[in-house]
Amino acid sequence: MDATQLLKGVLDVAVLAVVEAEDGYGYDVVRRLRSAGLDDVGDASVYGTLRRLYSAGALTSYVVPSEEGPHRKYYGITDQGRTMLEHQRKVWAEFSTTMTDLLTPEAAA
C-alpha cells in the first residue's frame, strides 16, 4: 500500500480544505496540496475532483481573464461545501484515531 492509493479516498476533503482556506485555480490547488506534503497528487485528478465537487454544489467557480495568457478558472467553497467539509473532518478524525489506535503497538498491547 502506498500513499497514492490512500489519497484517492481523501482527495475530496483535501481539495475542499485547500479551497476553503483560499479560492484557487486548478494548478494553484495542486501546488498547495503538494507543498502540504501530498507530493504524488496528480494534477488531472485534482482538476477532475474540482469539477466533480463543483457539480455536487460544494464549489462555485468563476473565470478570471488574463491579458497576457489564457484565462484561469477559480474555485471557491460554497456553504454546502463547508457543511460537507465539516462532516468529513469529523469522519476523518474518528477514522484516523481508530487507525492510529489500531496501528500503534502500545495501544494494541
Partner: protein
C-alpha cells in the same frame, strides 16, 4: 489559447479534449476550461516535467470527475477508428485556430434550427408518403415532430441510437435540399399579390418566340375594345410588361416611353389591361426611365382600326 501558450501545451490540451469527445460538449468545456493556463504554469514551474500521454491524462481527469469511462474501442472496425481519428485531428486543428473555433462554435449554436428543419423535413416526407394534405391534424403532427426532434437533439444516446439519428439526419438533409430546389419554381409561378408583378420581370407573353409588347382586342362586331383585363388559363394576369418596362414611343425609338398600368379598385396597379398605353419617359442620371412630369399616358397605334365581325353564334 493565445501566443503565450507553448504549442506543445496547446496541442496536448487539444488531445485531452479529443480523448473526452464522447462526453457532451458542455461537460468537456467545463472540465477543461483553464487547462492551458494550468498546464502552462506547471510547465514553467517544473521544466523537467513531461506532459505525458494525453489519453492517460484524460482518463485521470474524467475518473476524478466521476464521469463514465469511454466506450471500449476494441469492437470498433478500423473504418470507424479512422473516422474517429479524423474527427480528433479536425478537432485539434480547430482548437489551434481561434477563427475556426469561433466558426465551429457558431455552427454548433445553430443546432436548434437544424432540429426544427429536420422535423419539418420528416413532416414533408411523411406527408408525401401518406398523402395527407394540410389541416389541423397535419399541423399537430408537425408540432409533435418538432418536439421529438428537439428531444433527440438534447438527449445523450447510446451508439446505435446515434447511428439511427445520423442516418435520419442524412435523409432530412436530402429532403431539405430537394425542397430548396423546388421552392423557387413554386414561388415564381404564383401571381397572387402585387409584389409578384415585379417578379414577372423575366417572364412575359411570347408569340412564336417573339415578345408580345401589347395586345389589341376586338369585339364580336370587329370593333376595337378598350380596357380589357386578360388572364391566362391559371388565372394569372396576362402581363406583357412589368413596372419599369419600357418601349419606344415612335418607330425610330427617338422618344422613350414607359408602359402605363391601369389601377384596380383595390389600388393595385394592373399590367394586364389592354391595349396598354405608354407615357413619355426620360432616362435619369442612373439610367432609370422616369415618366416625364406632366405627361399623360397615350394610346399606342393599333394594328387594325377594325377587324371582320363574327358570324352570329347559334
Amino acid at each position: 489559447m493565445t501566443t503565450t501558450v507553448p504549442t506543445e501545451i496547446a496541442s496536448f490540451a487539444a488531445s485531452v479534449r479529443a480523448a473526452l469527445a464522447d462526453l457532451p460538449a458542455e461537460e468537456v468545456e467545463e472540465l477543461t476550461e483553464g487547462l492551458e493556463a494550468d498546464l502552462a504554469e506547471a510547465f514553467r514551474e517544473d521544466l523537467a516535467r513531461e506532459l505525458g500521454d494525453p489519453e492517460v491524462y484524460a482518463v485521470e481527469l474524467r475518473t476524478a470527475a466521476g464521469l463514465p469511462a469511454p466506450e471500449p474501442t476494441s469492437r470498433r472496425s478500423s473504418v470507424v477508428d479512422k473516422v474517429r481519428d479524423l474527427g480528433r485531428d479536425t478537432r485539434s486543428l480547430v482548437s489551434d485556430h481561434p477563427v475556426l473555433e469561433r466558426t465551429v462554435d457558431f455552427v454548433v449554436s445553430l443546432r436548434p434550427a437544424w432540429w426544427l428543419l429536420r422535423a419539418w423535413a420528416a413532416w414533408v416526407l411523411v406527408g408525401g408518403v401518406l398523402g395527407t394534405g394540410g389541416g389541423l391534424g397535419s399541423l399537430v403532427v408537425l408540432v409533435l415532430f418538432a418536439i421529438g426532434s428537439v428531444a433527440l437533439g438534447l438527449g445523450r444516446w447510446p451508439g446505435w441510437v446515434t447511428g439511427i439519428i445520423v442516418a435520419g439526419n442524412v435523409a432530412a438533409a436530402v429532403v431539405v435540399l430537394a425542397m430548396l430546389a423546388y421552392l423557387p419554381s413554386s414561388f415564381g409561378s404564383s401571381y397572387t399579390d402585387g409584389d409578384s408583378y415585379a417578379s414577372a420581370d423575366l417572364t412575359g407573353v411570347y408569340l412564336d418566340g417573339q415578345q408580345v409588347t401589347n395586345i389589341f382586342a376586338y369585339g364580336a362586331d370587329g370593333q376595337p375594345l378598350s380596357d380589357v383585363q386578360l388572364f391566362d388559363q391559371d388565372g394569372r394576369p396576362l402581363a406583357t410588361s412589368v413596372p419599369g418596362g419600357n418601349g419606344c414611343l415612335d418607330p425610330d425609338c427617338v422618344d422613350l416611353g414607359l408602359w402605363a398600368p391601369m389601377t384596380l379598385v383595390t389600388g393595385q396597379p394592373a399590367y394586364n389591361v389592354y391595349p396598354m398605353s405608354m407615357v413619355e419617359a426620360y432616362s435619369d442620371d442612373y439610367g432609370t426611365l422616369r415618366p416625364v412630369t406632366g405627361a399623360t399616358a397615350v394610346p399606342r397605334p393599333s394594328p387594325f382600326l377594325q377587324v371582320p365581325a363574327l358570324t352570329p353564334a347559334g
